[in-house]
């Protein structure tokens, strides 16, 4: 089980070593110590491995992740798991802005709060935030789910496409074309599945959530809607 000390090893060497792993590698569990907020830690992974980061990570930790499970013991900087394709990224602390931006798959689990623009332009990822999320979250979100146990800031889901937003707490305001939608059985099932995936089955009642989605009124530009933007 390799342990890499980022005070002793350059980041470039760590990422190169992780990129060089074959899909059938036996080196499946890695620990990174003294991350000290370095940027792009464990970015671009593409192997079914588990990477534990013992501390705080800077920008773009686990960016473009595929297959790997990356656990950040502390807080994560801007763009954690940006453009993730698959795998799991788990932030035990808080996450900064643009968490899960444009991510296409996998699960981003944030135990604390997430800053502004959480899930911006998300394209299929499942994001679950146990705390609250900041303003302009799910801006232009295209696909996937954003589940929030706490509150959401201003302009949630502005210019939303087909992503589904499940919020348990208060929403300060909705963005353009984002509306509350009825929670049907299929949605409750989906929400339960996401909660279960995050290890929260039985702990959190899906009935406490409200669902938000796109009114789809801005899908085709029309001059009468110009004031909505």
């Amino acid at each position: 089980m390799p342990t890499v000390d980022l005070r002793a090893e350059p980041l470039r060497a760590l990422n190169r070593a992780l990129h060089a792993l074959r899909p059938d590698t036996n080196e499946t569990r890695w620990t990174v110590v003294n991350p000290d907020g370095r940027h792009a830690i464990a970015a671009g992974l593409d192997a079914p491995i588990h990477v534990e980061i013992d501390g705080n990570a800077g920008y773009y930790c686990a960016g473009m992740n595929k297959q790997a499970t990356v656990v950040i013991g502390g807080n994560a900087g801007v763009g954690v798991a940006e453009n993730m394709m698959s795998g799991v990224v788990h932030v035990r602390g808080d996450a900064s802005q643009s968490a899960g931006a444009t991510a296409q798959g996998g699960l981003l689990l944030i135990d604390g709060n997430a800053g502004a623009r959480c899930g911006i332009s998300m394209k299929g990822v499942d994001i679950l935030v146990k705390g609250s999320i900041g303003h302009m979250s799910a801006f232009m979100a295209q696909a996937g789910t954003l589940t929030v146990l706490g509150d959401a800031g201003e302009a949630l889901g502005d210019s939303l496409y087909e992503a589904r937003l499940y919020i348990r707490g208060a929403v300060t305001s909705l963005g353009a074309d984002c509306v509350e939608k009825p929670m049907g059985d299929a949605h409750r099932e989906q929400l339960f599945a996401k909660l279960k995936e995050a290890g929260l089955a039985g702990e959190v009642d899906p009935g406490e959530f409200r669902r938000y989605g796109s009114a789809r009124s801005l899908y085709h530009f029309h001059v009468d809607n110009a004031g909505a933007y």
Binding site: A40, G58, Y60, G124, Y219
Partner: protein, 442 residues
């Protein structure tokens, strides 16, 4: 018999031209601004306003058909372990599958590969056809991140961080629903048939400090192998070039307002940004001030049409050029052979710019399978390769006449300007004088 008194000749306004009045009527009838493709169409100070001073007694030329004049260029050797090596400094600018047909993208790849140069993806990701037919492919990293994935990032030969384009610096894009077919929608993770908006800002970084960190992430993901370009629309070229270089770019791509777009507002195209001619010297100056000229390469685009344009841009200090609109014309865009169909669309060959509507008679800016079939990608690629060869030969002809054994040896000193505006923008003397407007002591 009484004489008819002289009458005033009917006089049209230079301010309210027929085009202006037609646009006012169109706006009044529809309530929506005009959207179109291509770049600025208004007359602008341009490279035609510059001339080369051929060699004579004070300089001696190279023999046109016998003495070597190099054209090769290396892009991205500042930080990347695998820089791009091209046979000609004329590259193909970023154009998306979605705005262009798959056949058109394939033709661009074929033509560029035959000529030994690179082609570039656009918003919407990389298609297998494009990768397969492009020997050297630059993968654009755009705010929308449509189709962005790490596999294609590693399959690319270089990465281009797109911050803006000359037709609309500060603007995003819109691909109208009629071009969002199942395939295009699938690549962009959107429902088919809806208008697709491309954002004007990146979702996970703002400003030069963040940009440096973002570029570092892309380098880490690709193990520091790929050259990273940063593309900006020309508006404040000195500062944007300096900030791109400071952020760690290997290459800066500078696109003037004549550079084309798939679709945006006409008012944006014609009124935002600066001409290519005005942008080059400040960008070169920025690199020189940083001691990075020729270390960070400068690629200039926006209205490059001929080998003369190539030679002039290189003489002003750039390392390479990129062509977009000219490449589409080489493939067959706006060809008079389709005049009847252009007329049916209410336009004429040479003026067709409703590329966003997807009805292109030439089968280039469309996703309609019937229209797209009109472009043979093999023949189109050959035509583009021919055009690229001509541009390169023309540039060599001029360079030899100026006594240069490589296109990169051309200098501002080889140029004069025909107009005061061009002299001021290009910072070369007005022809027949030693006067550079704005320069004291001459």
């Amino acid at each position: 018999m009484a004489e008819t008194p002289p009458r005033t000749v009917p006089r049209t306004s230079a301010t309210f031209t027929p085009e202006v009045m037609a646009e006012i009527r169109r706006a009044a009838a529809t309530g929506i601004y005009d959207i179109r493709g291509a770049g600025a169409k208004r007359a602008l100070p341009h490279l035609d306003d510059l001339l080369f001073l051929g060699a004579s007694i004070s300089r001696y030329p190279l023999e046109g058909y016998r003495e070597r004049c190099g054209t090769e260029v290396v892009l991205g050797d500042r930080f990347a372990s695998k820089p791009i090596r091209l046979k000609t400094p004329v590259t193909i600018a970023g154009m998306s599958f979605g705005s262009l047909s798959a056949n058109a993208k394939e033709a661009l790849g074929r033509g560029a590969s035959l000529a030994g140069t690179s082609t570039t993806t656009g918003d919407g990701g990389m298609t297998p056809e494009e990768r397969g037919h492009s020997q050297t492919l630059v993968y654009q990293y755009l705010p929308s991140r449509y189709g962005m994935n790490p596999d294609d990032l590693r399959r690319a030969d270089a990465i281009e961080m797109v911050i803006g384009q000359g037709a609309k610096p500060g603007g995003g894009g819109m691909l109208l629903g009629q071009k969002i077919t199942e395939r295009v929608a699938g690549m962009r993770c959107l429902p088919p048939g809806i208008d697709q908006r491309s954002a004007c800002r990146h979702p996970d970084w703002t400003g030069p400090d963040d940009l440096a960190i973002k570029l570092e992430e892309l380098r880490e993901i690709t193990d520091w192998e790929k050259p990273i370009y940063v593309k900006v629309g020309a508006s404040r070229p000195y500062y944007d070039t300096a900030l791109a270089a400071k952020s760690g770019a290997d290459v800066v791509v500078l696109d003037g307002m004549q550079g084309g777009t798939a679709a945006t507002q006409d008012v944006f195209i014609e009124h935002v940004g600066i001409p290519t001619l005005a942008a080059i010297r400040p960008a070169v100056q920025a690199l020189q001030d940083l001691g990075l000229h020729r270390k960070v390469q400068l690629v200039v685009s926006g209205g490059i049409r001929s080998g003369a344009d190539v030679a002039k841009v290189l003489a002003l200090g750039a390392d390479a050029v990129a062509i977009g609109t000219a490449a589409l014309i080489a493939l067959g865009d706006n060809d008079p052979r389709w005049e009847a169909e252009y007329a049916a669309l209410g336009t004429t060959a040479g003026a067709y710019d409703d590329w966003h509507e997807g009805k292109d008679p030439a089968g280039i800016t469309t996703q309609d399978p019937e229209l797209a079939r009109r472009l043979d990608p093999v023949l189109g690629g050959r035509r583009l390769a021919n055009f690229l060869a001509v541009m390169t030969l023309e540039a060599q002809t001029i360079a030899r006449a100026c006594g240069k054994s490589h296109l990169h040896n051309l200098e501002p000193e080889d140029l004069v300007a025909l107009t005061i505006e061009a002299a001021a923008m290009a910072q070369v003397p007005l022809a027949g004088t030693d006067w550079i407007p704005g320069k004291a002591g001459l």
